[in-house]
Symmetry: C2
């Protein structure tokens, strides 16, 4: 029975993972782009990214673009797999009325 | 843009609403049935039901069946509509990489 992953389920994190999962494996997004896309504050996005990074679901890299430090985010293989399973669990609930557990 | 409803999004409440939404309009479920289906404790289920009831999404009625008091739960019209919108918002995120807001 597919289970919901509470790390991914939180609304902002669900949107972050959906966005990252839609990219090609080597692609990454810029912090500012993600912040504006999700309409959240720097602090809010930072906290959610930290939680996803701690779970090993995303990779966060800082590097200079010209003289400016920028933060780039991408989904890890583990993160893509976890997101895939989470989506499967969600589908089971919203389509099947299936009532599995919560991890 | 469809928004996620935090009252419904919480995993246990999402499962409750999915279960109730799958019933016919006049049907209701018994508290014990729901508790066992979701594998949660009485206290946990009670707290989530209260939250959904406060939002006007479910109706909770106690009545005697023989000598035993039983609690019956059903989705309200408002609850069904809110669940439908929530599912639509979820689909937008997991299928489209759409990045809407959070209410």
């Amino acid at each position: 029975m597919a289970e919901l992953d509470r790390v991914i389920h939180e609304p902002v994190r669900l949107r972050i993972m959906a966005c990252l999962d839609a990219l090609n494996p080597k692609e990454q997004v810029d912090f500012v782009y993600l912040r504006d896309l999700l309409a959240v504050t720097d602090g809010n996005l930072g906290a959610h990214l930290q939680k996803l990074e701690e779970a090993g679901y995303i990779s966060v890299k800082k590097r200079f673009v010209g003289r400016k430090p920028k933060t780039f985010i991408s989904a890890t293989t583990k993160g893509r797999a976890a997101f895939g399973e989470h989506v499967e669990a969600l589908r089971g609930i919203i389509e099947g009325g299936e009532a599995g557990g919560v991890s």
